[in-house]
C-alpha cells in the first residue's frame, strides 16, 4: 500500500477510535464522578484516561468490550492517584452540583436526596465503590467487573454485597430512602 494510503487508513482508524471514545465519555464521566466524588477531579480523571487510551490505542483488542477497557483505564489511573495522595479529600464538593442548570434549581429537594446517595457512595471503601459503580450503575456483569478491576469474580461478589449492605444501612440511617420515597409519592 502506498504511504499516503497507509496514512489515510491510519487516520480513519484513529478517527473511528475517537468516535468510539467520545461516545463513551458520558458513562466515563459518570463512573469517574462516582469514584472521585467531585466534578473537576472526575473530569480530570476522564481526560487523563482519554489521553492514555489514545496513546495505547493499539493495545485495544478488537472484538473485546471497549467500555470495559476504558473503565479499566479510568480505574487504574484513579488507583494511581489514590496511592499518590496520602489523604483522600474527606468533604468533596457537593456531588452533582452544576452551575447554571435550571433543572438543578427546580429539583433541588429531589437532588438533595440523590446527593445523599452519592455521599453515601463516597463514604464506601474504594474497592467496594468501584464494584458498586461498575455493576449497579454501569450494568456490567460480575465477570466483566472482575476483569476491569482485575480480581476474581468471587471478590467482586463479596465487595458488591458489602457495598450494597453498607449503602443500605447509610441510607436508612440518613433517611435517604425515606426522603426519596416521599419525594416520589409527592410527585
Amino acid at each position: 500500500m502506498e504511504p499516503a494510503a497507509l496514512a489515510a487508513e491510519e487516520d480513519a482508524i484513529a478517527s473511528r477510535f475517537s468516535d468510539q471514545l467520545i461516545a463513551m465519555l458520558p458513562r466515563l464521566r459518570r463512573f469517574a464522578r462516582g469514584l472521585a466524588g467531585s466534578i473537576v477531579e472526575a473530569d480530570d480523571l476522564v481526560q487523563a484516561a482519554s489521553e492514555r487510551a489514545l496513546a495505547r490505542r493499539h493495545q485495544f483488542q478488537e472484538g473485546t468490550r471497549f467500555d470495559s477497557w476504558m473503565f479499566r483505564i479510568v480505574q487504574t489511573i484513579w488507583i494511581d492517584q489514590m496511592r499518590a495522595r496520602t489523604v483522600r479529600k474527606e468533604e468533596a464538593e457537593l456531588p452533582g452540583d452544576r452551575v447554571g442548570s435550571d433543572e438543578a434549581m427546580r429539583r433541588v429537594e429531589a437532588r438533595l436526596a440523590l446527593g445523599e446517595v452519592r455521599r453515601a457512595v463516597d463514604r464506601l471503601p474504594p474497592d467496594q465503590r468501584a464494584a458498586l459503580l461498575l455493576v449497579t450503575v454501569e450494568g456490567l456483569s460480575y465477570r466483566e467487573a472482575a476483569e476491569v478491576v482485575q480480581v476474581p469474580v468471587g471478590t467482586i461478589m463479596s465487595r458488591l454485597a458489602r457495598a450494597r449492605m453498607a449503602l443500605q444501612a447509610q441510607l436508612e440511617a440518613g433517611a435517604g430512602i425515606g426522603r426519596s420515597r416521599n419525594d416520589v409519592e409527592a410527585q
Binding site: 468510539q20 467520545i22 461516545a23 465519555l25 458520558p26 458513562r27 440523590l114 458489602r162
Partner: protein
C-alpha cells in the same frame, strides 16, 4: 439451604444467580418475609443509586474532554478547535445527488403511506437501489444504505428548519404528545416511544412520517429557544443491519449522532455541537432502552 447470605441475595437481585440457585433462593424467599423485605430494600436502594448518577449522562460534555478524545490540545482557557469526524469515504456527493434526485418523487410511490399524511418524500425506492445494486457485496450495500440514510436524515432536518413555522407536521403535539405519537406509530411496524427532552429545554413539536430505507420512519421534532441546542430531530426507523454503537457524523452542515440497536436505526440530527448531541443521544438511548 442453611442460610441466605448477603452475597447470594445480592447476586440474585443482580441476575447473577444460576437457575438452580435462583430457584433455591426463591423458595427461601417464599418462606421468609424478613428476607423479602431485605430484598425489596436492596432493590429500592439500587434504583436510587442509578437515579443519583443518571443525571450526569445528561450534562453537556466539557469540550476539553471531547478535545482529549480527539487527540487535540486545549489552551489554558479551555478554548480549542473541535475536529469533527471527517466525512466517511462513501458520504460522497453521489449519495447526496441521489437524495436530491429522490426529492421530487411522488409520495404515491409508497402505497403504505397513502392517506397517511402529506409531504412524504420518495426516498425509499432510491435507498433500496431498485435491485440494481444486488450484485454488490453486502458490506458495500450496507455502507451505501447507511450513507443514504444519514444524508436523508440531514435533508429532512434541513427541510424542517427551512420551513420554520410552516414546517409540515403530520401529528402536531397539541394536547397529549403521547397520543400524537400513538397515531403516527399506527403507520409504523413498531411502536415508537417519545423521549422526554424537556430537561434539555427541548419541547416536542410534533411528529412526521418519513420514508427511509424503503420503510416508514418517525421523525420526532423538538424546538427550543436555546440556539446552542435546537431545533433537533430524532428519526427512528427499522433496520435489518447489525447493531452499531453511537457514531458522530456531520453532513450537509448539520451534526448527527446515529446508532442501530435490535432492528432499529436512530439518528439524532441538529445544529448543536457534538457535546450536546452525545449527551442528548445518551439520554434518548437510555429512555428508549436503545443501547
Amino acid at each position: 439451604m442453611s442460610r441466605l447470605s448477603d452475597d447470594r441475595l445480592v447476586a440474585y437481585l443482580d441476575g447473577e444467580a444460576e437457575a438452580p440457585e435462583r430457584r433455591e433462593i426463591e423458595a427461601w424467599l417464599a418462606g421468609d418475609p424478613t428476607a423479602r423485605d431485605k430484598l425489596a430494600a436492596l432493590a429500592r436502594s439500587a434504583t436510587l443509586l442509578r437515579q443519583a448518577y443518571h443525571e450526569i449522562l445528561r450534562e453537556p460534555l466539557p469540550e476539553r474532554l471531547i478535545a482529549a478524545a480527539r487527540g487535540a490540545t486545549t489552551t489554558p482557557t479551555g478554548a480549542r478547535i473541535l475536529a469533527f469526524a471527517p466525512k466517511r469515504a462513501a458520504a460522497s456527493g453521489g449519495a447526496l445527488r441521489r437524495w436530491r434526485f429522490a426529492l421530487p418523487i411522488a409520495a404515491s410511490l409508497f402505497g403504505l403511506l397513502a392517506g397517511g399524511g402529506t409531504g412524504y418524500l420518495g426516498i425509499g425506492e432510491i435507498l433500496t437501489g431498485g435491485g440494481s445494486g444486488a450484485a454488490s457485496a453486502p458490506a458495500v450495500e450496507a455502507a451505501v444504505a447507511n450513507n443514504l440514510w444519514l444524508d436523508n436524515a440531514a435533508g429532512y432536518f434541513k427541510m424542517f428548519v427551512a420551513a420554520g413555522d410552516n414546517a409540515l407536521i403530520d401529528v402536531p403535539a397539541t394536547g397529549d404528545a403521547r397520543e400524537a405519537l400513538q397515531k403516527i406509530s399506527q403507520s409504523l411496524t413498531q411502536q415508537v416511544r417519545l423521549p422526554d427532552l424537556k430537561p434539555w429545554g427541548l419541547n416536542f413539536r410534533g411528529a412526521r412520517l418519513v420514508v427511509v430505507d424503503g420503510r416508514p420512519a418517525a421523525q420526532l421534532v423538538y424546538t427550543t429557544d436555546n440556539k446552542a441546542i435546537g431545533p433537533m430531530a430524532l428519526i427512528i426507523g427499522s433496520s435489518k443491519q447489525p447493531d452499531i454503537p453511537p457514531t458522530f457524523d456531520r453532513r450537509q452542515d448539520v451534526n448527527m449522532l446515529y446508532w442501530r440497536h435490535q432492528g432499529r436505526a436512530y439518528v439524532l440530527v441538529g445544529q448543536a455541537d457534538a457535546g450536546y448531541l452525545w449527551g442528548i443521544g445518551n439520554d434518548v438511548a437510555w429512555q428508549l432502552d436503545a443501547i
